[in-house]
């Protein structure tokens, strides 16, 4: 069960890390469901640092292993597992989230890089009870199969429509200096960083066209 903020009930316990480099490590423990079973104390030294940002409108403060990516922070520390790990190397797009409204690969970003950022994950785009129009369109057009790349596709598609509105050009824009318009070719080029091995591309393009209000 998740709490109303979608964070699955996180508790933080401060631990003194007593390390050679004299940093203070905080162990962030996940607690599942309503049973807040205590985690085993983490007594090992880790290089850690603090970061504050917001996820889906909720403030988050973490003291965390410096190596933690935004993706792993979301999935393993904030229990926001809607953002997927497909390759962990920026080669698939399954981990796409919006940072200050712009889409990025959360696997290639340290969580520490996100001080004061405002992050939106798929959980912040819409919920089963209150779907975003893009989510509804994906369902209607069957723009997914296994569902694993889907959160990334949807986050990306939402951002792509904004990018086109903002006039950002693409590789296939015939005129760099002209107005940008949604088209099947524009959408497909802009979405090419989101791989769908099930091959729902044709349906995803139709879903996005519907949301953009044009013929697919």
């Amino acid at each position: 069960m998740e709490d109303e903020n979608g964070f699955g009930g996180i508790t933080r316990r401060e631990m003194l890390a007593g390390t050679a480099v004299a940093v203070t490590a905080l162990a962030i423990t996940r607690v599942t469901g309503l049973e807040a079973a205590p985690a085993a104390p983490i007594v090992t030294p880790v290089e850690s640092a603090g970061v504050s940002f917001s996820v889906n409108g909720k403030a988050v403060n973490l003291q965390i292993d410096t190596r933690t990516t935004l993706l792993d922070a979301l999935r393993e520390h904030l229990n926001l597992t809607g953002t997927k790990k497909g390759c962990d190397h920026g080669q698939c797009g399954a981990c796409t989230v919006l940072v200050n409204g712009r889409r990025i690969n959360s696997c290639l970003s340290l969580v520490l890089q996100h001080e004061n950022d405002s992050i939106t994950t798929i959980e912040g785009i819409g919920t089963p009870e209150n779907l975003h129009p893009m989510q509804s369109a994906f369902i209607k057009h069957d723009g997914y199969q296994c569902g694993y790349c889907t959160p990334g596709q949807i986050c990306s598609a939402v951002a792509v429509l904004e990018e086109i509105k903002a006039g950002v050009p693409s590789h296939v824009s015939a005129d760099l200096n002209g107005p940008m318009k949604f088209s099947n070719a524009e959408f497909r080029e802009r979405m090419s960083g989101n791989i769908c091995r099930c091959g729902a591309y044709s349906n995803i393009a139709q879903a996005a066209a519907e949301v953009a209000g044009v013929e697919g």
Binding site: D65, I104, Q113, S173, N177, M191, S192, N194
Partner: protein, 315 residues
């Protein structure tokens, strides 16, 4: 990924100063560095996050060019109206690279400094002179279809993967830096990258911990701007061959290549042959090429791609 300490720099000077710490490395967008750290190809012990030190503006220079901050994101650079209007080759090159997500994060300086995508460089079990000097080059007699055909050596046939840098090479961009002691300098892009020779691990002429602060584009030169990136899949792939071209009405032009060499490949002295056609120009441009059996096709492909670009834009 090895453990590292982390600090957020506030200013370029602070960042440059912090760089003297042992094992320190700058972290800008991180899209290449973190990838390599996960595989322990890069193993810094201290990261200086320079994401908030400014250097994120594109400003006019007194002589009519543009100064691009080192931390301007690839998306913002490609979308800048001045870049689109006067330096279309740069917009086009950026947009041909990576994905929307990566361009939103990757920076100008980071793009210049990204490392090769040679598959043997990426697999730490395999010998690689670039990753582990002296261990040998696995690619030379291995899988080399993607790799360099010119400018390479017996020690390394890796290519430089950047599209942006190809356009900057054609534009005669100048790279501006600051060193840990605060001294600044300007390096023309033609002198920025090193060829591998026997030291393929040394990729640029930057000093240790020298920080790129900006890239200056000279006054616009006009012409038709083209960037044709040839690859197997239609997007989100590195180039087999890419051609960045600025073509002038008089038949002349500037042409730089990606995907064929350890750095963006341009031979200005060959460009006088552009009016004579792709064949003559390409053979001069690629003089001294030393392809493998697997990537010899790139020589034909270079000529074909240039010919296509010339034909389309001169008709």
């Amino acid at each position: 990924m090895k453990s590292f300490t982390y600090e957020r720099a506030e200013t370029p000077a602070q960042a440059a100063a912090a760089a003297s710490k042992p094992g320190a490395k700058f972290l800008a967008g991180g899209t290449n560095l973190l990838d390599l750290m996960k595989l322990q190809i890069e193993t810094p012990t201290h990261l200086i996050d320079i994401g908030r030190i400014g250097l994120d503006k594109i400003e006019p220079t007194p002589d009519g060019g543009l100064r691009i901050g080192a931390l301007v994101r690839n998306t913002d650079l490609a979308a800048d109206l001045r870049i689109r209007a006067d330096y279309g080759i740069l917009s086009r090159a950026l947009l041909a690279g990576a994905s929307g997500q990566l361009r939103n994060k990757a920076t100008t300086a980071g793009n210049l400094l990204q490392r090769t995508r040679c598959p043997y460089f990426y697999d730490t079990n395999q010998p690689c002179n670039k990753r582990s000097p002296g261990s040998g080059c696995s690619a030379l007699a291995g899988f080399s279809r993607q790799l360099a055909v010119i400018g390479c050596s017996d020690a390394c046939i890796a290519t430089h993967p950047s599209d942006m840098a190809v356009a900057m090479m054609a534009l005669d961009a100048v790279i501006e830096t600051v060193k840990p002691d605060g001294k600044t300098r300007q390096i023309p892009i033609s002198g920025f990258y090193r060829l591998p020779g026997k030291t393929p691990h040394l990729e640029t002429n930057l000093d240790k911990n020298e920080l790129i602060t900006s890239v200056v584009l000279p006054t616009p030169v006009g012409g038709i701007h083209v960037y044709h990136k040839v690859r197997d899949r239609a997007s989100y792939a590195f180039a087999l061959v890419s051609v960045g071209a600025i073509l002038f009405k008089d038949g002349g032009g500037r042409i730089a290549l990606g995907g064929v060499a350890p750095r963006p490949w341009r031979v200005p002295s060959a460009e006088k042959l552009i009016p004579k056609g792709a064949k003559e120009f390409a053979s001069r441009l690629m003089e001294g090429a030393r392809p493998t059996k697997e990537n010899a096709f790139k020589l034909t492909l270079v000529q074909g791609t240039i010919e296509g670009a010339l034909t389309e834009n001169r008709s």
